[in-house]
């Protein structure tokens, strides 16, 4: 992640958001990824795809692409940065607060929360798809619930 200090401004459109949105990290496609997932926000038209690649129980690579507002794209950038290299268990435990606080978006209003968390929702669902393949005991199910209950 780039080395911004968190801004104290009430204004959510601080430098970091603008910058990430104009130059997103991990934007693109992974050839031969292990799992890919698409979702969209019906009411605002944000629409993303995320690709994940795993190696030795870790996320070896992650990329996203699609259309979204600055908040959506900045949050996707931050999320993918957080995820990269992490173990599946660690990725599973990522909470929405982790993303929001990283960008100073704790007070985002309800309707924009969807923009901020779309990528997290997609990630959780992608992880579910991945784990469901190998974990036939239903232990992945809670991820699906978690994804759909995010907002």
């Amino acid at each position: 992640m780039r080395g911004y200090s968190k801004l104290s401004s009430n204004n959510i459109y601080h430098e970091m958001i603008i910058d990430y949105s104009r130059n997103p990290l991990n934007f693109g496609e992974i050839e031969g990824c292990d799992v890919t997932h698409h979702d969209s926000n019906p009411l605002c038209g944000d629409s993303l795809d995320m690709d994940l690649k795993f190696e030795d129980g870790r996320v070896s690579d992650v990329k996203f692409r699609g259309k979204g507002c600055a908040i959506c794209i900045a949050c996707s950038s931050v999320l993918t940065e957080i995820v990269k290299g992490k173990s599946v268990e660690d990725v599973r435990s990522i909470q929405k607060g982790d993303i929001l606080s990283e960008l100073g978006l704790e007070h985002l209003q309800a309707v924009r929360i969807k923009c901020a968390l779309l990528s997290l929702k997609i990630l959780k669902f992608a992880l579910y798809k991945h784990l469901a393949k190998t974990h036939t005991d239903g232990s992945a199910e809670s991820l699906k619930e978690e994804a759909s209950g995010l907002y």
Binding site: P42, L43, Q109, A110, V111, S148
Partner: protein, 407 residues
């Protein structure tokens, strides 16, 4: 029961120089200041469309609207806010089920069961569906006390062809409270879905859909202190998710393409177009108001009034009261007829004394046919009615008897 009359501006009104005695609550209730103020506040301060925009007043609107969903879920004991679909009223709720669930679950030769004491809104949609699908509509008959003959239900269920049993929790004519837990247990045993019309029950007594375990539950706001224009369909998420959408349009979609569309999550899948936002907010205020009193106090008050009214009306010569006298099995709705006097004439004469009472078939012509009458007179009580209201009614009914020379 606290004295709530001061909260209802319309009760201060006079009619033919008499004070208004409003006894038509089964048709629609009056609205307290608290509900009107909340709606007014909405239009004065945050009016805007919901679910769509990022500006402040739209966010406030959306929050207020969605907050009512939580309130409704809690009020009727639903286990999840997503079980609550806002519609115009009971009628729309039942039609939604008939179109969306009915058209994919009811097939030729199947049976839908309703009851003899249903409101037209719980009969006609099933007639239309039955005709369209080649299914049959059967009735649970009522006995002389106005209670459902559950042997009929048993007999229908035994055919193995029943797909749905639709019944009201409280009859809008006889006031009978259905034995919902028994009916639903019988249906569940037989693997049959149930729809409970709570239009008359929800305003007057504590209801808990999770305990009742019906598949569909419906009611109207305007009978429970809320404005016209809003009602509720409650059903489990699983049920709602399995159903095809009803109305197509804005808000109920996820993505629209030229030929293909995907649906939004429940309950939004069933809320196409701009809803009655202000009316929904009014419903929230009505629930606050009722919870503040407490539904058991509401019920107690009406039991007391109904007992008193049954006694006083019972003393009038040539006046026949329909339905059970067992107060534990009935709500605050009393239908009656003077021998030889048409209820329309009764209603019109007592109107001169300021009394608002319904006469007619009460949208229950199947029941009228059963009772062998074209119409009945009906009084129905709510939190603001008093013993004095009943005294005025009884006095006025004596006047009717004198005019028609039956006393």
């Amino acid at each position: 029961m606290p004295d709530v009359r001061g909260d209802f501006p319309i009760l201060g009104r006079s009619v033919h120089d008499k004070r208004l005695v409003y006894l038509d609550n089964a048709s629609t209730s009056q609205k307290p200041r608290q509900v009107l103020d909340k709606m007014s506040d909405y239009y004065h301060n945050t009016n805007s469309n919901i679910h769509r925009a990022v500006y402040v007043i739209a966010e406030e609107s959306t929050a207020k609207y969605e907050e009512v969903r939580d309130k409704v879920a809690r009020f009727v004991g639903a286990s999840d806010r997503r079980e609550i679909v806002f519609v115009r009223g009971t009628t729309e709720a039942i039609n939604l089920v008939a179109y969306s669930w009915g058209r994919s679950n009811v097939n030729e030769g199947d049976i839908i069961v309703t009851t003899e004491y249903e409101h037209h809104s719980n009969i006609v949609p099933w007639q239309i569906l039955a005709k369209e699908r080649g299914a049959k509509l059967e009735y649970i008959n009522i006995d002389d006390n106005g209670e459902l003959e559950l042997d009929d239900l048993e007999r229908h269920l035994a055919t193995g062809r029943v797909k749905l049993v639709a019944f009201s929790l409280m009859s809008n004519v006889l006031g009978t409270i259905s034995d919902a837990s028994r009916i639903i247990a019988m249906c569940r045993q037989a693997g049959v879905c149930t729809l409970v019309d709570g239009a008359q029950a929800v305003p007057h007594m504590q209801v808990n859909v999770s305990e009742m375990r019906c598949d569909f539950f419906t009611f109207s706001g305007h009978k429970m202190l809320a404005p016209t224009g809003v009602g509720v369909l409650q059903a489990s998420r699983k049920m709602l998710e399995s159903m095809a959408p009803f109305h197509g349009g804005g808000d109920m979609i996820r993505e629209v393409h030229r030929q293909e569309t995907t649906w939004n999550d429940v309950p939004y899948k069933f809320e196409a177009g701009t809803p009655s936002i202000a009316d929904v907010i009014g419903l929230g205020a009505a629930i606050d108001y009722l919870e503040n009193i407490g539904m058991s106090r509401v019920r107690d008050h009406e039991v007391e009034l109904t007992e008193y009214a049954l006694k006083k009306l019972g003393e009038i010569k040539n006046l026949r009261i329909y339905g059970t006298r067992d107060i534990s099995k009935r709500g605050g709705v009393i239908s009656f007829n003077f021998e030889d006097i048409h209820p329309h004439d009764v209603a019109q004469i007592i109107d001169e004394d300021g009394i608002a009472m319904r006469s007619g078939h009460h949208c229950a012509q199947v029941l009228m046919e059963k009772l062998g009458v074209a119409a009945t007179s009906r009084v129905s009580f709510y939190i603001y009615n008093t013993r004095e209201d009943i005294d005025i009614l009884v006095e006025s009914l004596h006047r009717v008897a004198r005019i028609f020379k039956v006393e």
